[in-house]
Symmetry: C2
């Protein structure tokens, strides 16, 4: 833990890496929830001045957006398999990331400027797959909405249940239960 002074880091001291900031931010989110992630707390954990963060991310929303990027950029449909299985795979991948970081889900859902990007991409991937599976464009859009909204609703329930682990919560649609519902929907499709 070498103490940092003001000014540009000298040659041997390395600059603070944005990815370090992101991983620590995610750690805070996972451990303390949405409330725990403040610019000041994050800076303290990384061992830098709060204002240094602004050199790497425009503001708090920018940080959250970068967090969302790093987590959800991995969510893609499986390369092969029949279209229906690829739909299932895409949704499952999305839901699995969501389950790993419930507080991030909440952060994204709370901030309009953070949310749309990924949902849009995933929705459009989904629509393409549904058309490949033989649905009409209209029905692809309809079922795209159904599947994405179902996933988001389930994610929300998990995020809220996890945030202040209320054991009296109404058995949120988590884990296996989510998959059962997804299967049921794919059958109806």
């Amino acid at each position: 833990m070498t103490k940092r002074g003001p000014g540009r880091p000298s040659a041997n001291t390395e600059a603070v890496s944005p990815s370090k900031i992101l991983s620590e931010a995610l750690a805070i989110l996972d451990a303390k929830g949405l409330e725990g992630l403040t610019m000041r707390a994050l800076a303290a954990r990384v061992g830098i001045n709060p204002m240094t963060i602004y050199h790497h991310f425009v503001d708090r929303d920018g940080l959250t957006r970068a967090l969302a990027d790093s987590v959800y950029s991995a969510v893609h449909p499986p390369e092969d398999g029949d279209p229906r299985a690829r739909v299932a795979g895409l949704i499952a991948a999305y839901h699995s990331e969501v389950l790993k970081h419930p507080a991030l889900t909440l952060a994204i859902f709370s901030r309009p400027s953070v949310f749309p990007g990924h949902a849009r991409r995933i929705t459009s991937d989904l629509n393409k797959l549904l058309e490949e599976a033989g649905l009409s464009p209209d029905r692809s859009q309809l079922w795209g909405h159904i599947l994405v909204d179902y996933t988001h609703g389930a994610a929300l329930a998990v995020a809220l249940a996890g945030e202040h682990n209320l054991s009296q919560s109404p058995s949120p649609n988590t884990g296996d239960s989510f998959d059962d519902g997804l299967n049921e929907l794919l059958k109806a499709l």
Copy 2:
């Protein structure tokens, strides 16, 4: 606009009514979104001292909880009709309230301590109706989750789209589109 002084209101001056506070809070939420609703802004609008609010509601979450109560307590299944139609009616009633106050939806979804109460009641109403419609307890729970999560996901999309009216948003599942999806789900059920 008679100015208020300190101390207990005299006989002719009426005490600040909690319902007045609630309706103004809802007005702020509808007009300025979640960010706009601060204790201080609310007090200014009602024309009272910020601290007066704490005499009527424990804290910000308590206020939000009361807001949720006042809006969602009206959501009940229709008295008669066949069970399937009553399911549709309950979901439609829920979704319609959500559409009226997107920012309230967001407020509830962001605060774990506010959310569960109503979702729990509505979910349990829904399960009862589904059993009446002839589903097994297991399948009632499964479809209860599907329907509630779908509704919440759609609500979220609307709330986020409305918050900063991004016209480039990916055509959220709103209005008629929601009903189409709901019908599709009820057919599959």
